[in-house]
């Protein structure tokens, strides 16, 4: 190489100078790029395009990763916010239910001033056997509930009587249970009788009003309320309305079939009457 440059160096230099001058002259004379520059550009152009494409793809990839990460973070934050709002809605719903219950209780207290102490309770279980009509409540003796206390609905209609009571639970035998027996009075005629459950009627959610005079003038739809005569239960609680009147086999007394005013199957909350004043 050294020898080559020593022997032909001057010629090489000369050829390079001639080529440079020729290129300079051609570029001055040509309107576009010189043929050599054009050739070089044409050869390099696909590589340049490829490089740009790769660079764009890499940039997009980087942007996509950044966007995804941002979206994931945003999604997680939104999910958290949604869960928080759902929790708030749940709480609001529970508060609304409680508010409704308290309003009903307030109305009831205004309507029935003789019922001096109530306890609101939720029904946790409806009938547990086919031979009884009972409800299980979520309140018990720890809140002053006792066996024999009357249970009413939000409208003041009689639901039943406490049959068993534990610390935080109690069982109510409803109006239509065969073990329920209450002093009753027909509101319109003032006829007295005993409202009691009848097994044949229990599954139809009906009860009987027994020991009515044979000549009683009851009409379907007559309202029957508690008489309160024995002092065990408050007077004037609505039991139900007369559906039909029949005379017993001996013909001495009549009995009526009553439809309870309260909808036993639809009940979800009730009020236990813990104490009341006897109205004479």
């Amino acid at each position: 190489m050294k020898n080559f440059l020593k022997q032909h160096g001057l010629w090489v230099l000369f050829a390079a100078a001639v080529l440079s001058v020729a290129l300079a002259v051609m570029s001055v004379l040509s309107a576009n790029s010189s043929p050599f520059a054009n050739l070089a550009g044409a050869v390099v152009a696909p590589f340049r395009a490829g490089y740009t494409a790769v660079a764009t793809w890499f940039n997009d990839l980087q942007n996509y990763y950044k966007d995804t990460t941002d979206l994931q973070a945003e999604n997680a934050a939104l999910k958290q916010e949604l869960a928080k709002m759902e929790e708030e809605i749940r709480l609001a719903k529970a508060d609304r239910e409680e508010n409704k219950l308290l309003k009903e209780l307030l109305d009831l207290t205004k309507q029935r001033r003789d019922l001096t102490d109530f306890e609101a309770a939720m029904i946790t279980e409806h009938e547990v056997t086919n031979w009884t009509s009972s409800l299980t409540l979520n309140k018990g003796t720890s809140l002053g509930i006792e066996v024999g206390d009357c249970v009413i609905d939000a409208c003041g209609n009689l639901v039943g009587v406490i049959h068993k009571a534990g610390t935080n639970w109690s069982t109510v035998l409803t109006l239509v249970d065969t073990d329920t027996s209450l002093g009753a009075q027909v509101f319109r005629t003032k006829d007295l009788g005993v409202a009691q459950g009848d097994f044949s009627l229990m599954r139809k959610t009906r009860l009987r009003l027994d020991y009515l005079p044979a000549d009683c003038a009851l009409l379907p739809g007559d309202v029957v309320v508690t008489s309160g005569l024995n002092g065990h239960y408050p007077s004037g609680l609505v039991i139900g309305s007369v559906e039909e009147v029949q005379v017993d086999d001996a013909g001495a007394t009549a009995y009526a079939i009553l439809e309870p005013e309260t909808d036993l199957d639809a009940l979800t909350e009730v009020f236990v009457v813990k104490s009341f004043e006897i109205v004479t």
Partner: protein
């Protein structure tokens, strides 16, 4: 000592199986109504284990179950199930010992007996309380039995598996 441990193990398994059934009754069956009645497992629980374990053990098991039922379920008298379930257990145990080998057929007949005793006693009590309702009672018994009867098969399988498991260990 080993025999005592095995006895404890066996009755623990029976108690566990029964507890499972009680949870099934309380958690699910009680909330369902077919043909106007809810399925009522308790008489089956008193009768079916007795068909595998014989009259004596079956009666004692049913007595304990009856006590538990009286604590949990409302009834016209406080000891209704304590009085009736041992009879159902005794009947089922004697049936399996003398006439029918324990199995689906024996469980079915025992179930009829258990429902007849339990619901018959209910009707008798109503009559004694002056509220006789024989026809309505019979109809309810029939419906209750029909609705509950299909459960005789899974219950028999359950208690038979307990019986076979504990017998193999004997």
């Amino acid at each position: 000592m080993i025999a005592r441990n095995e006895t404890i193990f066996k009755w623990s398994l029976y108690a566990g199986a029964t507890l499972l059934c009680l949870l099934f009754q309380g958690g699910l069956l009680q909330r369902l109504e077919f043909w106007g009645v809810i399925p009522f497992l308790y008489p089956l629980l008193a009768a079916i284990p007795a068909t595998f374990e014989g009259p004596l053990a079956g009666t004692i098991f049913s007595l304990i179950l009856g006590l538990l039922c009286d604590l949990l379920l409302p009834g016209p008298i406080p000891c209704l199930y304590t009085l009736v379930f041992p009879l159902a257990g005794l009947g089922a145990g004697l049936l399996a010992q003398s006439w029918l080998p324990a199995g689906f057929l024996c469980s079915s007949v025992s179930a009829v007996l258990a429902f007849a005793l339990t619901d018959g006693f209910h009707c008798l009590l109503l009559w004694m309380l002056g509220k006789a309702a024989w026809q309505a009672g019979a109809l309810l018994t029939l419906r209750e039995f029909c609705v509950t009867y299909p459960l005789v098969f899974p219950l028999t399988l359950l208690y038979r598996s307990v019986y076979l498991r504990t017998r193999k260990d004997d």
